[in-house]
């Protein structure tokens, strides 16, 4: 699952720590999601999208391999 959290974070000029605090998770979770090593729950994905005022699809992109 690809995502563009890093891009949105850079646009909003916030750090991983600030985003983690705003979402109520650890910074390690944000790092893992940005590296696509951890796929967040639907709830957290919506929280992230809501934080940046965009739709979930604009941040997360599902690849064919994810659906197999």
């Amino acid at each position: 699952m690809k995502n563009s959290i890093k891009v949105f974070r850079a646009k909003a000029n916030i750090t991983q720590e600030q985003l983690a605090t705003a979402l109520g998770v650890y910074r390690q979770t944000i790092i893992a999601i940005e590296k696509s090593k951890y796929v967040p729950s639907l709830t957290l994905a919506f929280k992230i999208a809501r934080h940046f005022n965009v739709n979930v699809e604009e941040i997360f992109e599902c690849e064919e391999s994810d659906l197999k």
């Binding site: 650890y26 979770t29 893992a32």
Partner: protein
């Protein structure tokens, strides 16, 4: 309650339990440590529910769940294997087969062998070994999944 206060309370409870354990040995009575341990766990459980500022991080929860599940899987196999062996060891004569000495037989006929020579045949020690194995397995799996789900603390780019 702050998290640090909880850690201090945990230390105090553990220290008290060590003391009670020693008293139980002195009095040759298992009840104090058994009751004490249950009370200690209840105290810590109640205290933990009052700790403020804990982050319910979903990745950490997922890692803990996976680690616990795999620990349980391995423990189940090991414990079942041990139990099968124990049943054979203690109940062979039930099936009309020759029997190796039981704990009770060894304690009554050759207590030094029981006390000094083979302390790990004591069921309490064996169960403690299993509990230690749970801790090692759980921590090992936690490390593994921490790495797998990549939360390495890197500098921000």
């Amino acid at each position: 309650m702050k998290q640090n206060s909880f850690y201090i309370l945990t230390g105090l409870v553990v220290t008290a339990l060590v003391g009670i354990f020693w008293l139980s040995l002195e009095w040759n009575n298992a009840l104090p440590i058994q009751i004490g341990f249950i009370i200690g766990v209840i105290i810590l459980y109640l205290a933990r529910s009052r700790v403020v500022g804990i982050i319910a991080d979903e990745r950490s929860i997922a890692i803990s769940q996976k680690a616990a599940f795999h620990t349980l899987e391995i423990l189940w196999v090991v414990f079942f294997t041990f139990s099968l062996g124990f049943i054979v060891w203690t109940s062979s004569n039930f099936f009309g087969l020759e029997r190796t000495p039981t704990f009770r037989y060894m304690r009554e006929h050759n207590p030094t062998d029981m006390v000094f020579g083979r302390p790990f045949l004591n069921p309490g020690f064996i169960q403690l070994l299993f509990l230690c194995m749970i801790i090692f397995l759980y921590v090992g799996f936690k490390f593994y999944y921490e790495r797998k789900y990549g939360g390495e603390d890197t500098d921000e780019e």
